[in-house]
Amino acid sequence: MIVTIPNLGNISIAAKALFDGLKIPYIMPEVNHNDTLKIGSFYSPEEICLPFKIMMGNYIRSIEKGADTILFAGSCGPCRFGEYCELQMKLLTKFKPDLRFIVIDSPLDIGKKAFLKRLNEINLSSSASRKEKLSAMLAAYHTIRILDQIDAKAHELAGYEREKGACKNLLYSCKREASACDNPVQMLKVLNDYKKKLRQIPLDYSKNPLKVAIIGEIYTIIEPFSNLYIEEKLMDYSVSSKRTLTPSWWLKDTFLKPLKINSLAINHAAKKYLPYKIGGHGRECVGESLLAQQSQMDGAIQIMPLACMPEVVAKSILPSIQREKDFPIMTLVIDEMVGEAGYLTRIEAFLDMLEYKRKTGVKWAVCSSFPS
């Protein structure tokens, strides 16, 4: 069995640590680029959302390199994402008839028995001892946790750095070095080193950078290729950005879900505007925009793939928040385009708008005559 997974931001680095530790043969997906999307959309239904197409591109390239098993975290239908694996199985078995799909769904959805059976499928192909398995899982968990921390810190500090580009370059070399490690212990060491290095970047706290929250559909905000590297762009503009939805957030959320104590702050914040689960991360999107507003950020950018149902619902709620809470929010819809001109225009105009708003101190809510 040679396992592969779809690309999803930092997850592929943590998964590498996991597979190395479990001694499972694997093929890591290529870094996403235009070719991934090109081949992915060729084999995907025309109307499906963007993440599906990019994932297909990852799978096909990995299968070509010899992968025969795809490991995927499903979610049994909060939105189209829940049907991804079924459809991808149908499409890909045409490509490679003996392809295996191991879909890890929540035990709440598929039952404990099926869940354990699926886990065991991975377990069986591992030649590691029980102790090694446990430590591999722990190491993978720490890897993703620390990686997300480094990510978040670098995105935040980019607004304060004395030497422009210091945070971005550090993040780059951190990920490059981490990906090159071939055992989890070494990788953790690299990450901890970079965590320390990040603290040593010279900062200027007298700067008062714009602070922007990145909210929206989870895949498109985590996987930088799909959002045309928005976080890197914001770093280039010396903006401090913050994103709550990360792989480690998702892990925590999934584990706490059965106890119904997941995402309490977000759900509480969203209550007035969207008290229901509408699938995907629609409620989270609304809640996060309100949390960002409460934590004195300057604005939020919502990112969603074209025709993403939960985010469309959230999108229609955001203008009320913008109006009533005096908090600018911009929505960017992404699809198969790779041309950046219009995208950059919107981001730059949004940042200009936030800057002017700060400079003049105009209250948005006063400007509008809408009844709230």
Binding site: E30, V31, H33, N34, D35, G165, K168, N169, Y172, R176, Y229, E232, L306, S316, P319, Q322, P328, V333, D335, A341, G342, L344, T345, R346, E348, A349, D352, M353, Y356, K357, T360, V362, W364, C367, S368, S369, F370
Partner: protein, 330 residues
Amino acid sequence: MLKEYYLGIDVGSVSTNLVAIDQNGTLVEKLYLRTSGRPVDTVKKGTLMLTENLGDQASIKAAGTTGSGRKLAAVLLGADVVKNEITAHAVAARRLYPNVRTILEIGGQDSKIILMRNGIVYDFAMNTVCAAGTGSFLDRQAARLEIPIEEFGGYALRAKTPVRIAGRCAVFAESDMIHKQQTGHCTEDIVAGLCEALVRNYLNNLAKGKEILQPILFQGGVAANIGIVKAFEKELGISILIPEYYDVMGAYGAALLAKEELEINQRETGFLGLGNLKHEFTVQSIDCAGCSNLCEVIKICSNNMPIAYWGDRCGKWGDLTANELVQSYK
């Protein structure tokens, strides 16, 4: 005595517009050219034409660029300000109408709505997926009907009963138009129907949930089309204003921003002068194989000397200093 001017250039997909403003921020000279898919040549030609019109005693004190080709134009000229077209349009509109509250802008490939409150941008939107409501689509339809684009609006005004045409998608709109024409509707009614469809599409696509308050300015090349103007007024039920320099507002905004930049920061201009424009500029794209990102890097050369790179994510090319640029040539 030398007269000092500030230059503003808007390099759009369809047109390249240039303006020169004087010390008081008044527009002195303007130029509206077709980009014709060759932005480098158009910027060179346009700048030389504009400065010629300004006379011998003119000197350019600073330059600002905007539009989708702003980065390219900035490298050619050594611009002091490189600004997105939304901010540029808003700045120009506010200068002419300080109390403006809504700006409708329709250009060649995209359309925008900008809401202004108390003189600052409050909200904006840009068309996302379809170019149905934009100038290039109108151009195409005018060409198909063999009507000069300048007379397009006049046709719409003469219509008695405008036909209904689907405006959501350029392809649907065109097949609807052909269907109506084959069933015998007159050209005037079809043209008027098209104008109404575009306005409906614009309002549905961009203005949904946005509060359109007077005074409303209509900018961009399409504002010359009286048919569209009337369709807007009919749909909104309020009158709209067309600024005198509606077709070069983006460039005007860029010039104003360049002037402001120099005045506020009290710095020297980076403008490279007209002599620089006589150089031979070439644009080349290279696939960087430095890492797995495989970026498509753009290389701009002036007389075969690399002067700028962009398109890379890591900064390996984009962050090169002047000295390193010379090195990369060797």
